[in-house]
Every structure is written in structure tokens, then in C-alpha cells.
Symmetry: C2
Subunit: 254 residues, 2 copies
DNA sequence: ATGAGCATTGCAAGTACTGCAACACACCAG
DNA sequence: CTGGTGTGTTGCAGTACTTGCAATGCTCAT
């Protein structure tokens, strides 16, 4: 809607691919170098881009700080976290929390017992939307029209032989998930990884988030993982209850 | 430099404080509501802000994804990480990695043994710049003039009785840190927490990052923590070596 | 029902953005 | 040391774009 801002913001995903110099940015934007320079300067003043020693631009630290605050404003994360930890303690597997926003599904929390360290590497990453259990749960709750529209728009990469192949199959799967109230991903993203997930609902019954437990084949078979389903659903329901109980609006002191 | 973009970007930190409606955004920006609306729309199209069900705006998920990619482009993090993990395994305490950028110090990695879960809650957060050991290390290496300028500009909140009280004291401390090649924070941020840190240097000797080990008083006394100093310095030096060894520039395939 | 409060849209005025071209600077080669 | 190519940077005039106003919708609470 606003040309100048639009151009400026287009720089960010461009720089996310890696550092770039002025000429490259101008080319990719399709504008004159001087224009790109002034946009970059403005972004720089706000700390969203950083100029490294070789004069090339890359994404800046303020962006990371902003994203941090953005996550902290998602109160579902705060409420869910202790439950995720408890679930992890009980079953020992990786636990995910994800939300849907603007045609994307994003992990916003993760508890992992075996590799306690690499966790940040996934938080914030978009989910494999056509196969992940949490994605199915979130999309299954969308209004009919929006769901069809999105399903048509998506790509269906065949990560494995068991990946969802196309839109009709995906829509069928979503129907199933919606009816049964839980979802799985059995080797649809990585051959040896299975997941089982359940939805978290707000006071009005709408799905506001989804959680899942993941484990590799070598640790537990898919069948064994499925025995955790009641536990997962209980956890999800507990989070739902707490979320709808407390009023989610935060008052700001005057 | 560009008024429109400047205004648009000013919305982001504003929304970081919490969701806001159109009127509030317009007021804070000092522009007409219709102007604010169009700026918000543009931000929305890029996924940087999200419109929640009550029509208020908050920071969007794309921001989190962008920050994720930004972090992955910081190659010092990648190189340092295994070293941080090893150090954590040896001493059992929390290990931090931080960088300096544009008058801010930011944690970009953290390994914590006791609470393996809460780690992301700090990564990306600006550091208490006047007291943290990593901050001292990073600022101590700034050019004289920049250091003085920054020291004057900073606030000196008294988190505890042992916090750095003012600019002169801070500058003296930085001198000391620079000379000795390591730094501590003994209860300067939280009464019962001590830290000891060491700098990570690039090939040209400049400090590119800093790391520290933190532990509460109740687990080890400050003196005991200081016995870890050689280990911390060895780890930092190992990272420095690996960082300067490999050429830090990444060539893009043509 | 009725009004208050909010978001939204069309439009005219004018400001601020754009692209050009000239300049400055660094780096490399001869 | 010097000329040349590749950068990034700045001043300027034209105009495309943004802006604020005022009027219109819309939703919710009374």
C-alpha cells in the first residue's frame, strides 16, 4: 500500500538470505542505487540492518530483540510452557508448541530432552505445513473457505514417500483430524520420525495453538508413540483450560 | 532519512510493548489515523505485524522467522556453540555468548544445564550493559572515543549495591578488563549471581564476541567460580583460533 | 433503536521520494 | 606512482507518492 515502505521491507527477506552489498540490493529491488542507499540507511538507523566491516549489509540485532519481545507477548506460550516441560519429563520425547498466522505455521516453543542445546535452532522456523501434526491441527480448524484456498495455494513437497501428495489428500486428512480431535505425522517429514499432536483451544472452542510429541523410530515405534495420545490430549486440554480461564487481555498501568 | 519508512519502522518497537489499536498507534506516531492505517497495512502485508481478533495490532510471526535467519547468519555462533556445550559439560554452569552491535550487547547463545528449557527466553535479549561481564569485555575493546561517548550516553541503574554506579567508574572498569583480558560480574546484576568471562578475538585481534560462565552464590562462591577462569579463557581462545583459522567470508556460488 | 466510537475510503494539496549525473573514494594493475 | 574500474555517496529538479481532512461504514453497548 505504501510504495516506499513496501520497498524498504522487501529488503529484509532479501538480506535474510545472506549479506549483500548496495548494488545487489538495488538490483533485486529494481530501484536506483541511491534509492536503495537511503532505504538501507533508514533501516540502519532503526537497527534492523547492520553494516559489517566489508561494507555489506546484513540483518541487525534489533530485529532479534524485537522478535524476542514478540514471542513474549504470545501469552499462550507462557501458559503452555510448564505443561510442555511436565509432559517432556513424563515421556522423555521432544515436545513442540506451534501457532498459525497468515498462512504459516510457526514453532514457538520446544522442549527436547536428548539434545537440550540445539533447541533455539528450530523455534521461529516455519513448519513443514503439509505434513506436520501441529500444522494439520491448526489448519483443520480454519473456516471451510479459507482452508480450501490455502490448500490450493500450498506446495506439496514429497519429503518422503508418506508425505501428503496434493491438495485433495490434504483436505481429506484435515477433515479426519478435525473429526477425531488429534493428529499424527508418521514419517511424512523425515522417514524415521513420528509425531502425535493435539489442539489447544480458546474459550470459544477455536484452536489457538497445537502441540505435539515427536520421537524417532529407533526409540519407539509409531504404535508405542500412539499410546502416549491420551497423555498428550490431557496436557493439551489442561493448557486449553488454563488459557480460557484467565482473561488473556493485559491491562497497561496508566 | 526517509520519513515514511522511518515512521513505519517506529511502529515496531511501539507494538513490542504490547498490542495497540489504530488510534493509539497514530497518537504515538503523531500522525493522522489514516496515515497510520496505511503504514500498518504495509507492515501487515509483509507479515511484520499481525491483526488479532480484537482488531488490535501486534508484532507478527514473520518477524520471528526473520530473526531466526538473522541469527543463523552469525557464523561466530555456529563455531562457538560446540565449545560452549563442552564447557558446560565440564563445569555444569550456565554459559553465555554475546556480541556487540550498535550500542547494544546481545546474548546470541546460551547453554544451561539446570534449566535446559528456559534458554530461548534470554537469547536475543539486550544485556545489562553496565554490569555484565560479557558487556565489559566487548566495550573494553571499542576505540577510545567511541567508548567514552557510549559510557556517557548510558544509564547506570543500580540493580544491586555492587552495580557500576556511573560513567567514570565504568570506564575505569573497562580499562582494567582490557588490561587483564578477562572480566567478572560479582553480584552486579542480581545479588546472588556471579559471572566470569573472556573475550573471543578475530584474526586481527579485535574482540568479536564474548563468553561467560554464570552461577548463583548458593552453588559456588565467587572465589570458587574464579578457579574456572583458566578453563573459560582456554575455551574462548579455542573459539578465537577456530574463528580466525577459517576464513569468515562465505563465497556465494555463481 | 440509537448513538458513540472505531476503522475505512476518496480526494485535493503539497511534500518528500525518486532517478539522474556528477563526485569521492578505494583498490588494483601497469 | 599513476590511471582505471569498481564501489558508495551527494545535490538537484520533477513528479509520483504520501498526507490529512472530511465523509462514510461498521460494530457494539446502552
Amino acid at each position: 500500500m505504501s510504495q516506499t515502505v513496501d520497498r524498504a521491507l522487501s529488503i529484509l527477506p532479501l538480506l535474510a538470505e545472506g549479506p549483500a552489498d548496495l548494488g545487489r540490493v538495488a538490483d533485486r529491488l529494481g530501484v536506483h542505487k541511491s534509492t536503495a542507499l537511503r532505504l538501507l540507511r533508514t533501516l540502519h538507523e532503526h537497527g534492523l540492518v547492520y553494516r559489517q566491516s566489508d561494507q555489506r549489509y546484513r540483518l541487525g540485532a534489533r530485529l532479534i530483540a524485537l522478535a524476542q519481545e514478540a514471542m513474549e507477548n504470545l501469552d499462550i506460550r507462557e501458559i503452555a510452557h510448564p505443561h510442555l516441560v511436565r509432559l517432556n519429563e513424563q515421556c522423555g520425547h521432544t515436545v513442540h508448541l506451534a501457532v498459525y498466522e497468515e498462512s504459516e505455521v510457526l514453532y514457538i516453543d520446544k522442549v527436547e530432552s536428548r539434545y537440550p542445546v540445539r533447541m533455539y535452532s528450530r523455534i521461529g522456523k516455519p513448519v513443514a505445513i503439509t505434513v506436520a501434526a501441529v500444522a494439520k491441527l491448526l489448519l483443520a480448524d480454519l473456516p471451510e473457505s479459507e482452508r480450501r484456498l490455502l490448500a490450493d495455494k500450498l506446495d506439496y513437497p514429497m519429503y518422503t514417500a508418506r508425505s501428503t501428495p496434493n491438495a485433495p489428500a490434504f483436505l481429506r486428512e484435515l477433515e479426519k483430524v478435525r473429526d477425531q480431535g488429534w493428529a499424527t505425522d508418521l514419517g511424512g517429514h523425515e522417514e524415521s520420525i513420528n509425531c502425535v499432536g493435539a489442539p489447544i483451544r480458546g474459550g470459544d472452542g477455536r484452536v489457538v495453538a497445537a502441540m505435539s510429541v515427536s520421537a524417532p523410530n529407533v526409540v519407539v515405534t509409531a504404535d508405542e508413540l500412539l499410546t502416549l495420545l491420551p497423555l498428550v490430549r490431557r496436557t493439551a486440554d489442561a493448557i486449553s483450560g488454563e488459557y480460557s480461564g484467565r482473561t488473556p487481555v493485559k491491562e497497561v498501568a496508566p
